[in-house]
C-alpha cells in the first residue's frame, strides 16, 4: 500500500520529532549544568579572594575555558535543532546527503552514546545529492541506524559512508565488523523508502547495509 507524504508525517513525524527533541534538550541541560557548576566555582574563588586569598589566575582561566567549551557545544546543539526544525519547510528539495547524515548523527548523538556504540561518518570526495523531503531523509537515516544498532554489542564501531555505486546511483553504506539485524522490516522505513524510490540491500554476512537511492 502506497502512503502519501502527509500520511507518513502524521503517523511518524511527531514521534521522531519528540524523540530527537527530548535527546537534544537533555544535552542542553548537561551543558547548562556544567556552566552552572563552573560559574559557581568562579563565584567560590571570588568569595575567597574577597576574604584575602590571592586569586589563582590559571585556575580562573581554566574555568573560563570550560564555560566557553560548553557555550560552543550548546550553540552547535541548538544550530542542529534549528536545522531539524526547518527540515519540514519544503516538501521537496535537493539535499546534500553527507549534510543529512551529519545532522541525523548530531541529533541522535546522546541516544547512540547511551548504547556505547561509536558511529563514524566517511564523506564522499564530491558532494552527493538526493531529491526529496529533508525531514524524511533524516528520519530514514535515523530509522536504519536505530534498526542496525538495536542488537549491536556495546563497543561496536559502525561506519556510514556515502558513495556512488557502479551504476552511478547515490548510495549510503552502513558497515560494521559484527553482523546486525537480519531484516529491515520497519514499516515506517519501507514507506519512506518509497518516497525516495530507494531500497536497502543487505549483504550475506549481515554486517553491511546499502541504502541505494533511485531518484
Amino acid at each position: 500500500m502506497k502512503h502519501t507524504a502527509q500520511e507518513i508525517i502524521d503517523q511518524y513525524g511527531p514521534a521522531y520529532f519528540g524523540r530527537m527533541g527530548a535527546s537534544i534538550s537533555h544535552d542542553i541541560k548537561n551543558c547548562l549544568a556544567i556552566m552552572n557548576e563552573n560559574a559557581g566555582l568562579m563565584s567560590d574563588h571570588l568569595m575567597m579572594a574577597q576574604k584575602g586569598v590571592p586569586p589563582d589566575i590559571d585556575r580562573f582561566s581554566g574555568i573560563v575555558q570550560r564555560i566557553e567549551k560548553q557555550i560552543n557545544r550548546a550553540d552547535d546543539i541548538v544550530k542542529s535543532f534549528n536545522k531539524f526544525s526547518h527540515s519540514m519547510d519544503k516538501p521537496e528539495q535537493q539535499i546534500d546527503l553527507d549534510e543529512a547524515v551529519g545532522l541525523a548523527l548530531n541529533l541522535g548523538a546522546r541516544i547512540i552514546a547511551n548504547k556505547s556504540i561509536t558511529v563514524t561518518h566517511t564523506r564522499a570526495a564530491d558532494k552527493l545529492y538526493v531529491n526529496g523531503s529533508f525531514f524524511f531523509l533524516l528520519f530514514l537515516i535515523w530509522s536504519i541506524l536505530e534498526k542496525i544498532t538495536e542488537n549491536l554489542a556495546s563497543g561496536t564501531v559502525l561506519n556510514i559512508s556515502s558513495m556512488e555505486d557502479e551504476n552511478k546511483q547515490v548510495c549510503l553504506s552502513f558497515q560494521c565488523e559484527r553482523p546486525f539485524a537480519s531484516d529491515f522490516g520497519l514499516q515506517s522505513s519501507d514507506q519512506i523508502l518509497d518516497l525516495f524510490q530507494a531500497k536497502i540491500v543487505l549483504d550475506d554476512q549481515h554486517n553491511r547495509a546499502d541504502l541505494i537511492f533511485g531518484n
Binding site: 527530548a22 534538550s25 537533555h26 544535552d27 541541560k29 548537561n30 547548562l32 549544568a33 556544567i34 556552566m35 552552572n36 557548576e37 563552573n38 559557581g40 566555582l41 567560590d44 574555568i63 570550560r66 567549551k69 560548553q70 546522546r110 552514546a113 547511551n114 548504547k115 556505547s116 556495546s154
Partner: protein
C-alpha cells in the same frame, strides 16, 4: 566542619570536576567516577556516605546502578541527578531506595542540604544495624 564522604558518578567530566571542587570547598571529601562500572568499583573499594548519581549514562544508566548500589550497600544514600526530572522517574527512583532526585543544573545550597540529610540518614541506618547485631549476639548467647 562536616566531613561527608561523597562519590559523584557522571559521564560529563567537566561537570564532576567543578562539582567536586565546590563540594570539597564546603568541607566534604569527594571522589568522582566517569561511568557506572567505575563508580560501582569505587563503592566496593572505598567507604562513602552518599553517592550523587547521574540518571542517564552510557553502558549502565542511573536506575540500574541504583539497584546494584542498594543491593550491595543498603545503607548507602543515593541522590540522583537528571536533566529532566519526571514524576514517573522520581517515583521509580524512590521505590528503589533513592534519597532524592534533583534536576540539573542543581542549586549548590539545596544539594549540600540534601547531602547533609543523606549522611545523617546513613548514620541512623548504620547505628540501627549495629544495635540489631548486638541484640542478635545477646539473644544467641542468652544474655
Amino acid at each position: 566542619m562536616s566531613n561527608e564522604k561523597v562519590l559523584i558518578i557522571d559521564d560529563e567530566q567537566d561537570f564532576t570536576d567543578a562539582l567536586a571542587e565546590r563540594m570539597t570547598t564546603r568541607g566534604m571529601t569527594v571522589s568522582t567516577s566517569s561511568s557506572a562500572i567505575e563508580g560501582l568499583k569505587n563503592v566496593e573499594e572505598h567507604s562513602f556516605d552518599v553517592v550523587v548519581l547521574d540518571l542517564q549514562m552510557p553502558e549502565m544508566d542511573g536506575i540500574e546502578t541504583l539497584k546494584i548500589l542498594k543491593k550491595k550497600k543498603p545503607e548507602l544514600q543515593v541522590i540522583l541527578l537528571t536533566g529532566h526530572a519526571t514524576v514517573e522517574k522520581g517515583i521509580e527512583a524512590m521505590k528503589l531506595g533513592a534519597m532524592d532526585l534533583l534536576e540539573k543544573p542543581a542549586d549548590m545550597t539545596t544539594l549540600t542540604e540534601k547531602i547533609k540529610k543523606a549522611q545523617a540518614q546513613k548514620m541512623i541506618l548504620v547505628e540501627k544495624k549495629s544495635e540489631e547485631r548486638i541484640k542478635n549476639i545477646m539473644e544467641t548467647r542468652g544474655w
